[in-house]
Structures are given as structure tokens and as C-alpha cells.
Symmetry: C2
Subunit: 242 residues, 2 copies
DNA sequence: CGACAACTTGACGGGCGTCAACCGGAGTGG
DNA sequence: CCACTCCGGTTGACGCCCGTCAAGTTGTCG
């Protein structure tokens, strides 16, 4: 349980540095957290509903998603996660996870013992602020997703997902604002937007036909950001990224 | 700015007492918070998207809802709130609200200065834990709502809303598990479930026809809790109320 | 008793789900 | 190196759930 890779926590550190005013001692102590890094294949579960764990995962590389399921077998993805995201801080305070977290691509995860993280939070209030703020931003994104699946038509939902993903990728330093890779399948996009894979495909095609985006494989390029944002009804305020 | 009514904070105190192990000093200091109580009519906005405030509201009596809107005028309610709920802790850490909070019925609100609350959080880590956990439970409910509007049909969505509301009312000491009052209009239920008022009406009628509930006015009685939960696909774990 | 909001019910249409077939690329094994 | 497999993507036909529109009805507050 030592720092195998010096910069494994880099993404997370940059993120919490944006979330609160941290001093050198804050950074030093965060960097001193013990952790172990693991590489996991696409599809692997990182958190499982109902199963408590004593480590908390930081996503070092790759993409993951949270999802819940209905008794009838429907799956709803409630968020996507990327480099620097903390996968389950809520599990510091809520013992039993109420949802799953699953690797979308191959991922590298830094596992930190919860006890150490809890101790750090008690010692460094600014870090607690940053982590709390992070969970509040997650909640804000959930609210926007409720709006997205509840009140927008299929075309807008897809456009909104694209806008959000592009914005978050850019903040995380992955790809530019107008060109990025969608790591998930269309089926996953469907499960995130409350649609079916077939209809997601139709809508992506339509957005391309309208000249808003181009696609080749999973590479997406936003041709007309302004019109796409308008179609998506996208206002990045809810990301609280400023 | 004094304690006009000795038990105005009672609901909130009971709530945070459930959320973390608090000692006498924690309770004493929470009760010592300065606040002012205001009565506001149904429809009044308590928090407005984009408008910062320097007080944080605790709901003393009545019901409120959070909502967001699309550019095309659609409204999505993302949560309902009742006695004891803290309306906007996230605004302690996120300067600008990304949604509205509006009174559903006439409400009494205890307004606490943010600065005092922030100070209390710094001084009493257990209270910080309780409030953080409260926001995490809110987030968990948002996730369940994403699932509800994204992956369940209209009948299940309505049934789920009823189950959740009944469970929360009971915890808050309002009505019993099988008999309670729905304070919101069917239009609001529609805005919470991503449906239309007309269709909400049809589904409520259907649930009644099936013998799962009875209604008279806004009084709802759950006749067959087990079958209703089954229709709703309701598992209260996400409420983290144990 | 009049006004207004909320609730109720029916008729009709459309957006999206379902089903089904086919394509294309990546991995695998002979 | 090629055949096979499999998963994901693509496209079309058809149907249903739920939205829309419209016309009452009920209830409440003045």
C-alpha cells in the first residue's frame, strides 16, 4: 500500500484544487494518502449495489458509469465518470451503496482506504469542503438529468448529453471542446437518456444530417456548437465548473 | 434575529439527530443558531435560480418543491420537501443556485444566516457529517428519480411517487404509512414524473380501479401496500432512512 | 352565486418502442 | 491468411403509450 505511481492521484488533486482554496499542507497531506492502483477491464464492477467496501476509488484513467436497474430489467445510467472523478465518496457516509459503478472502458483506479480519507477530512476542513462541494455538483448534475429525461425530447436529450460530455472532457483535459471520443456504446447512451439503442441511433444520425455534428466510429466532432447547444437547451451553469 | 418560537427548529433537529451521532453540545449549539421565522403563501419562491442569498431556509411547516425549467417552457420538479428539510444547504458551498425552490402549500420557514451555519459546521464536525449525509441522501433520491422518469412507465412512476411520499411523510411524522395527504396538484405530480396532468389523472384513476389506493380529494389511502410497492418497483433502501 | 383553478373524461395523433434484418469491424482459431 | 463469431451499429415497418386538444364537472373562495 504505497504510492506506486507518483502522479496517479494527479487528476483528483487537480480537481479538488479547483473545488476549494487549498493550501500547501492540504495538498501535501492529500498526496500522502496511501493507495493502490489497479487496472480493470471494461465491464468490471467497481461498486456494487448493496455491497459495502472499505476502500474508495479514484478514477485515474478511463471511463466509468453509475447505474441502477428496475425489477423488470431496465437499466438507467445516472452518470458518467472520467479521469479525476471520485467514484464513491458518498460511501464514506452512507454505508451501503444504492447503485452500481461499472467500468465503461478499461480503467485504472486508485483505491484509498476509507478510514484514511475520513481521517484526512477531519484534519483538513478545506479538503472536506472540496469533497462536499464535489458531491453537491454531482447532485446538481443528477437534477439536470432528471430534467433531461423528464422534459426534453429524444433529439434534445442526445444533444444535451453530447454537450455535457464535451464540456466535462475539456475540463478534465481530455480532447477539445469540439472534438472528443464517446467511450460508451449507443446502448449506454440509451440507458443514460431513457431511450432505446435504436432511437439513439436515429437521433445521432439526425444531428449529423442537420450538420450539427459529424461522427466516425466513436469520434464525435461538433460542427456547430451554438446550434447544438440550442437544440440541447444546454446551459453549463449546473456543472459549477467556473 | 432571535428564537421567536422555541421549537421552530425541532423538525430539523430531529432530522440531523437521525443522520449522525450528535452529543449534547452539538444539539445545544444547533439550537443556539439565530434564525427568523417567516410564513409564506403557496406559490412563493424560496430560492430562485441564479439568485444568491445569504440565508439558508429550514422548512418548519408545509411543503415545497425544487424545480428547473427548459427553454421551451417545460417544468421538471426534481424533489418535494416537507417539515424538517433543509432547503438549500448546497448553497453554503455553491454560490449560485441552479434551480428554484417554491412553496407548494403555505409554509413556515426558519431562515438561518449562512455565515453562522458555516461557522457551526467548522466547529462541530458531527454536525457537518449530518448535513453532508443529508445532501448525499438527497443525491440518492435524485438518482432514483432519474431511474423513475427514465425507465418506468407512467403507472409505475405515479405508484413510485406515492410510495416515496408515504414513506417520507411517515418518517417526518406526518400521517401514517397508509394514509396521507398529497399536498400537490396533479399538474405538479406530472411535472415531477415527466408526464402530463391528463395522464397523471388517468393513472391515479387506474390505480384506484385496480384497488391499490382510494382517493377523496387529495387524501390518499393505500389499500394494498404490497401490490402498490410491486407496481412501483419501490425499494426504500435509496432513502437511507434506517 | 359567480369566478376560477383543479380535476375528469373522451377522441385523436405522433414520438418513440419493438421487432427484425442486415452490415461492419475486431477478435479468434484453424 | 482466411473463415467464423460476436458485438455494436444501422435501417425499415409497424404499433402503442402517452401527449394534445377540447369539453365538461367539481370544489373552493370571494
Amino acid at each position: 500500500m504505497t504510492a506506486i505511481s507518483g502522479d496517479a492521484l494527479e487528476g483528483a488533486i487537480r480537481k479538488i484544487g479547483r473545488l476549494a482554496r487549498l493550501d500547501d499542507e492540504d495538498f501535501r497531506m492529500f498526496e500522502a494518502l496511501p493507495f493502490r492502483v489497479a487496472s480493470l477491464p471494461a465491464g468490471r464492477y467497481l461498486v456494487r449495489e448493496g455491497v459495502a467496501a472499505d476502500e474508495c476509488g479514484l478514477l485515474v484513467q478511463g471511463f466509468a458509469c453509475r447505474h441502477k436497474t428496475t425489477a423488470s430489467g431496465g437499466r438507467q445510467i445516472v452518470s458518467f465518470h472520467m479521469r479525476g472523478d471520485i467514484l464513491d465518496i458518498q460511501l464514506l457516509l452512507l454505508a451501503v451503496p444504492d447503485h452500481n459503478v461499472q467500468a465503461v472502458t478499461e480503467v485504472r483506479v486508485a483505491w484509498v482506504p476509507k478510514a484514511q480519507l475520513r481521517q484526512l477530512i477531519r484534519q483538513r476542513p478545506s479538503i472536506a469542503d472540496a469533497l462536499w462541494r464535489d458531491t453537491l455538483i454531482d447532485a446538481s448534475i443528477f437534477r439536470e438529468w432528471v430534467l433531461n429525461v423528464g422534459r426534453r425530447d429524444a433529439r434534445s436529450r442526445i444533444a444535451h448529453l453530447l454537450c455535457e460530455f464535451a464540456a466535462r472532457c475539456e475540463v478534465a483535459g481530455l480532447g477539445s471542446a469540439d472534438r472528443f471520443e464517446l467511450p460508451m456504446t449507443q446502448e449506454m447512451i440509451a440507458d443514460a437518456t431513457g431511450l432505446t439503442g435504436v432511437h439513439v441511433n436515429r437521433m445521432l444520425r439526425q444531428l449529423a444530417d442537420e450538420g450539427l455534428i459529424t461522427r466516425s466510429g466513436r469520434q464525435v466532432r461538433i460542427i456547430d456548437p451554438e446550434r447544438l447547444r440550442e437544440v440541447a437547451d444546454f446551459d453549463p451553469a449546473y456543472l459549477h465548473a467556473a
